[in-house]
């Protein structure tokens, strides 16, 4: 029974969900089924939350009990888990005081006549010069719009305080690391080690130039923008001729011939290309045609893969929910 019941439940539920997809969306049956699915997900989600919490406490509790290396971090994790959970339970009126002041015609980043509400935390003092910084914070808080000139003090729920001023900035900090990681990743990707890598390098440079306001670079910016074709085609032809020369000295005459012919072909294409083509147009061509074609190819494969996996699970060939194969 233990082996047969779960695949039967999985198969039946799967088929029901598939049938649900084909129902017209305005029917009562569709809405009832949707409600049932949503409610079931919430119930399972609540159980999942307890399981997650139990795992977290068990894992970090063990590390503290065994005094494993870095056990201090586990103490911090467990303490803050408890604190944040408590802040959600206690009254909404408990929390730090916030000073709100209307700022109806504040010129923020040259956007005039913006109706903003300014919020400044009493924890860090009320200062006029922190207007701009706090304006960003105010946009994410649940402060009501305030009219009039007087300053009002009100309470922000503690949980919201933690969410807006601890969790969100920390998340944003981690996210901002992405910029640095991208630079290191780009450096690795952009080394012209092979023919394919060189193509990648050239196309990425075109997209990069097409994306940024290169004409604003003093002295050379406008020249670069005006000679887009010359730069791209000459770079390509010179690179291919260089590769052909290398092949010639390696006595690979066949490859050398193909490369030279390719360089000539590119020259012909250059001759017949309209002269008003710029980096932005080239960027659009790269993104809209080869890039889109590759994306769609991957997408078709992914959809078919998903379909095959669904069939395998519904028919009980694969049973990940039971810890393996059938």
């Amino acid at each position: 029974m233990r082996n047969y019941l779960p695949p039967i439940i999985c198969g039946v539920c799967g088929v029901i969900m598939m049938l649900h997809f084909f129902l017209p969306e305005n029917t009562m049956l569709y809405k009832t089924m949707m409600e049932w699915v949503t409610n079931s997900t919430i119930v399972v989600g609540v159980f999942g939350l307890f399981i997650g919490l139990a795992s977290l406490v068990h894992n970090h509790g063990n590390r503290i009990a065994r005094r494993s290396p870095g056990w201090g971090y586990s103490v911090i994790t467990l303490s803050f888990t408890a604190i944040v959970a408590l802040t959600g339970i206690i009254s909404q009126n408990v929390g730090p005081s916030v000073v709100s002041k209307p700022l109806e015609k504040y010129n923020y980043d040259n956007r005039k006549n913006q109706d903003h509400t300014l919020i400044t935390h009493t924890l860090f003092g009320y200062k006029d010069e922190t207007y701009k910084t706090n304006l960003v914070a105010a946009a994410t808080s649940d402060a009501p719009e305030m009219k009039g000139e007087e300053i009002t003090v009100r309470k922000v729920p503690l949980f919201m305080f933690f969410y807006n001023y601890v969790i969100m900035p920390m998340g944003a900090t981690t996210f901002s690391l992405l910029a640095f990681y991208m630079i290191t990743a780009t450096y690795r990707a952009m080394r012209a080690k092979s023919w394919e890598a060189s193509l990648l390098l050239i196309s990425s440079i075109i997209i990069l130039i097409g994306q940024v306001p290169i004409e604003e670079i003093p002295l050379i910016g406008k020249w670069i923008m005006g000679h887009a074709q010359l730069i791209v085609y000459m770079s390509l032809i010179l690179y291919i001729l260089y590769a052909a020369m290398k092949q010639f000295f390696s006595r690979n005459f066949m490859t050398c011939g193909i490369l030279t012919a390719s360089a000539a072909l590119i020259g012909v294409i250059w001759y017949y290309t309209p002269s008003e083509v710029d980096f932005e147009a080239m960027k659009s061509v790269i993104l809209n045609y080869p890039n889109n074609a590759a994306k769609r190819g991957i997408l078709i494969g992914v959809q078919l893969g998903s379909l095959a996996t669904s069939i395998k699970i519904l028919s009980g060939i694969e049973k990940p929910y039971m810890g393996g194969r059938g």
């Binding site: 999942g48 399981i51 795992s55 981690t174």
Partner: protein
């Protein structure tokens, strides 16, 4: 132009459309039936013992190398199944691979660490790993806390995983499943520790990050093929073959559709060609074009546009009097098939 409209259907079919079956999703149903049948057929063939060739996937070939290296240097293996939930197909595919990887790890007696973002996924993966150790005949080596929960916050999870990579220095990192902005953070942290990294995702925007930062990357569908490839079970290989044939069918249909569309476009009426040139000239001159009034909310497909260009009423009064030539009839046939294919591959259901 539509092949048919709902109002033109018989009353009983209109009733079915309103209450039981959304006819706009008919294309999805046809697709599911055709490709489902192909997959079931190949599974049956595999069951009967037929040989099925599967191409080499370097990312999956390297799993053994990664596990061997981890065993040699005595460091753990980190397996991350992305940030998707239990109903995400990519997470399910990642879980299938985990079962096979855990079985091999059990043989090697190496440490496995599986930090999770979702508690339900964690529960399933705990069971998966436990079963894998039992299958390998080493249930005593399974450690309860090797699969554990970290946080359901995307960046908190990314930070925690990066921390684990830097502190514990795993010898091999498996990054398989659904990833978003955290992919590069995790992959770069892993690359900085010198670990062998095998990644795989169907999230198109994250694939370049993995290709740059990891040693091997499973691109798109390879993630779904991995379970079958690693286990080499005939049933799973059969489904993989079915999937490949389905893809081949789609490619062939697309090529045929392109040929039909191209032929139809080349053989269009010269008067229409002049009209198009005139419109283009007006556009270049910056003249405002007359706005076409339409009641349909859908954009016309390429097939519709071609059909409208070659239809007798659009050609002029002389054309309606002439008897259609064989070429025109063939072109009309092309257009109809082209329209049908556009209808089938509109793929509204996948949007």
């Amino acid at each position: 132009m539509e092949l048919f409209t709902i109002k033109s259907l018989p009353l009983w079919l209109q009733y079915v459309n309103e209450n039981w079956f959304d006819l706009n999703k008919l294309n999805a149903l046809i697709g599911i039936i055709i490709f489902g049948s192909l997959i079931v057929y190949f599974i049956r063939r595999a069951k009967s013992g037929a040989y099925l060739f599967v191409r080499r996937i370097p990312g999956l070939e390297s799993i053994e190398e990664a596990l061997g290296r981890a065993t040699e240097i005595g460091r753990p293996i980190l397996y991350i199944s992305g940030i998707g939930g239990e109903s995400d197909m990519q997470t399910i595919a990642a879980m299938n691979i985990l079962g096979n990887v855990a079985e091999q790890i059990a043989h090697y007696d190496t440490d496995l660490k599986v930090p999770c973002i979702n508690p339900i996924v964690m529960t399933i993966e705990q069971e998966l790993v436990k079963q894998a150790y039992t299958r390998a005949g080493r249930p005593e080596n399974y450690k309860e806390d090797c699969v554990y929960y970290l946080s359901d916050n995307q960046f908190a999870y990314a930070s925690a995983v990066s921390g684990i990579m830097v502190r514990e220095k795993p010898a091999a990192n498996f990054l398989l499943g659904n990833y978003a902005a955290e992919s590069l953070i995790i992959a770069e942290a892993g690359a900085s520790t010198g670990a062998i990294q095998i990644a795989g995702t169907a999230a198109i925007s994250q694939i370049p990050f993995f290709i740059v930062a990891c040693d091997y990357t499973l691109i798109g569908e390879e993630l779904f093929a991995a379970g079958a490839y690693v286990s080499r079970e005939p049933l799973l290989l059969g489904s993989l073959k079915g999937q490949d044939i389905a893809k081949l069918v789609i490619i062939l249909i697309m090529i045929i559709a392109i040929i039909f569309d191209t032929v139809a476009a080349i053989t269009q009426n010269p008067e229409q060609k002049d009209a198009i040139t005139e419109t283009a000239a007006l556009e270049t001159a910056g003249t405002e074009l007359p706005v076409l009034e339409t009641t349909s909310t859908e954009l016309p497909t390429i097939g519709d546009a071609i059909a409208e260009q070659t239809e007798p009423e659009n050609v002029g009064t002389d054309a309606t009097e002439k008897k259609p030539s064989i070429t025109e009839m063939v072109v009309a046939g092309f257009i109809n098939i082209s329209k049908f294919m556009h209808k089938i591959f509109d793929l509204k259901a996948f949007k």
